[in-house]
């Protein structure tokens, strides 16, 4: 690990006459860098002249693991990417896999996935807002924000047994259906969350210190936001009115009535306000989804027309054939594990269970490539999956919003002071596990 960064062509401040500039290392072990990031700052007194990010401290080879793990096993790895909103990553991964396989999940599954995705959005935004407050000195705000997160974690525990690393979704459905107790807990959360949000807003929204530290800091213009591939609240706070839930609706989002929250200034305060408004919109969606939760099965049924025949030759997409639509259903192909009752009492259930779980068996996938994006709390989280016929992905690429937003950081921080480094970093919501994978 280098102790200092060698000069490179992007380094504005490495001229001979500017030897009064002072290099400071910020991180990777620092309470204000959200997890392990490293910034080498070139300072002129308190002004940041340049910032050189150095990342990779949490690189764990998630994409390489995707080539060795089953589609149902990899969801555990996706949990650990953006670990403050793990359900959103699970939903995104399985949406991509189901797109590859051409499966449509039943309406109840889609509604429950919407509910958990929105709950993770609320959880992620609460954490970001809390951290923004904490980094600028408001510890009470942090506690106000983390209290509802405890309730959300309890809901996740009621749904699937794990507070954090949930792995709740499966190919073609969910791990467990939502119980009435979990629905009750969600209703309780919706009653108590507005009070917590009101506390947070009363504390910081018009607080002179907070507003002075956030307003006008780290301004991102609209053209820059699009040019630098931003998405999510960071882009919406700069005026890019793009929300995948409205523009390219997936799951059940077309059935719900909610607004897209945008701002125009593009500074840290705008990102704070956009996230706060998005929590309210997410509450609306959860309320509508819970009240109109369709009955029915939550997993896709065993036999169904998924993909074409076995004679599909693998091609790299160079052929002109567009007749890759599903044709004959394969009578014994399942993608979701059968019900335990069926596994333990019928022979077909037992055989299907083993066929799916044993190492060199499992369901067949088309030799094709697909990209599927969802609106994760941080931005556009997409998975580019290349299938090769086996139940393991040939390439599972995660398009990480944090990685792309962290590239903005040197651009945003130039000319600001050292104390603004923390404010800007907090407003971008950089999760190092998603950054490094």
């Amino acid at each position: 690990m280098p102790l200092s960064i060698e000069p490179h062509t992007g380094d504005l401040a490495h001229d001979e006459p500017k030897s009064y500039l002072w290099t400071m290392n910020f991180g990777p072990q620092h309470p204000a860098t959200h997890t392990t990031l490293r910034l080498v700052l070139k300072l002129d007194g308190e002004r940041v002249v340049d910032a050189m990010p150095d990342i990779g401290y949490l690189h764990s080879g998630f994409e390489k693991l995707g080539e060795y793990l089953d589609y149902n096993q990899y969801v555990t790895v996706t949990d650990r990417m953006n670990y403050v909103s793990p359900m959103a990553n699970n939903v995104a991964w399985h949406l991509a896999v189901e797109k590859l396989l051409g499966i449509e999940t039943p309406p109840r599954c889609q509604s429950i996935r919407v509910i958990v995705a929105e709950l993770s959005r609320i959880s992620d935004h609460l954490l970001t807002l809390g951290a923004m407050g904490l980094d600028t000195g408001a510890f009470t705000h942090f506690i106000y924000a983390f209290n509802p997160r405890e309730q959300i974690n309890d809901i996740f525990e009621a749904l699937c047994g794990a507070r954090f690393t949930n792995s709740y979704t499966r190919v073609g459905g969910l791990m467990y259906d939502a119980t009435p107790k979990a629905i009750e807990m969600i209703r309780d959360l919706l009653k108590q969350l507005p009070r917590a949000l009101a506390d947070m807003e009363r504390l910081l929204n018009r607080n002179r210190i907070f507003v002075d530290r956030m307003k006008g800091i780290g301004v991102l213009s609209r053209e820059d936001a699009i040019n630098r591939s931003c998405s999510g609240p960071v882009a919406r706070a700069s005026g890019v009115a793009r929300d995948l839930r409205k523009d390219e609706p997936y799951l059940n989002y077309a059935d719900f009535d909610f607004n897209v929250c945008c701002a125009e200034e593009g500074d840290c305060y705008a990102r704070y306000l956009v996230r706060l408004a998005e929590i309210r919109e997410s509450m609306k969606i959860v309320r509508q989804a819970v009240e109109n939760l369709p009955a029915g099965p939550v997993n896709v049924s065993g036999t169904g027309p998924f993909f074409g025949e076995k004679t599909h030759s693998a091609n790299q997409g160079s052929a002109e054939n567009t007749d890759l639509s599903p044709s004959e259903p394969r009578a014994t192909t399942h993608v979701i594990l059968p019900d335990k009752q069926a596994v333990e009492t019928t022979i077909e259930g037992l055989i299907t269970h083993f066929e799916m779980v044993m190492t060199n068996r499992g369901f067949e996938t088309p030799c094709e490539e697909v990209y599927c994006a969802t609106e994760a709390p941080n931005g556009e989280l997409g998975f580019y999956i290349v299938g090769d016929g086996s139940p393991r992905a040939y390439r599972a690429r995660c398009r990480p919003p944090s990685f792309i937003h962290f590239a903005l950081f040197p651009h945003l921080i130039r000319g600001h002071t050292l104390s603004d480094v923390v404010a800007v970093l907090g407003s971008l919501n950089i999760i190092a596990a998603e950054l490094d994978r």
Partner: protein
């Protein structure tokens, strides 16, 4: 059932092929014209958002002809249209022109492809490793790199308290 964008691309670049899967259009361009294809898509067809740049190593893929397939995913913020543009490069010297001048967001994405796959981007202002340390020598996401690694972790320089 091709879209106007695909039709224009096919007319302008005769070596380009395109296909559709699950509602997504992919165009495959030869390496020499990939920059022109992307520039056309950005300037004339309004694909102003670069969503992702990634690469796939087709070493173990059935019926593969080329080794690396670079994928550029683009989106149009006005019409919400998406397109994937691919090109194939081969060893020994996989090289492609960089698109940093079109989209600034390509900077880190191309650095990651260089880091993980070893594909050189011609014209990139600062092509160096991003996720792995500078002393790392291999390109891990290639298929001939084992999952457990080649033992680089044991050879990292250890900085003692006296030196640091």
């Amino acid at each position: 059932m091709e879209t106007t964008v695909i039709r224009e691309l096919r007319n302008m670049f005769p070596n380009l092929t395109a296909s559709e899967f699950r509602g997504q259009w992919r165009a495959i361009a030869p390496v020499e014209s990939i920059f022109d294809v992307l520039e056309k898509l950005k300037e004339e067809n309004g694909f102003d958002l670069l969503v992702d740049i990634t690469c796939v190593d087709y070493l173990d893929y059935p019926n593969a002809k080329d080794r690396f397939g670079l994928v550029y995913l683009l989106a149009n913020t006005e019409t919400n249209e998406r397109i994937a543009v691919r090109c194939f490069v081969n060893d020994p010297e996989p090289m492609v022109s960089s698109v940093v001048e079109l989209w600034e967001g390509a900077n880190w994405l191309e650095r990651e492809v260089w880091d993980m796959f070893g594909i050189h981007f011609d014209g990139h202002p600062d092509l160096r490793r991003i996720l792995l340390p500078e002393q790392f020598t291999a390109h891990p996401l290639r298929k001939d790199y084992p999952l457990q690694g080649l033992g680089e972790r044991h050879n990292f320089p250890v900085i003692t308290r006296a030196e640091g």
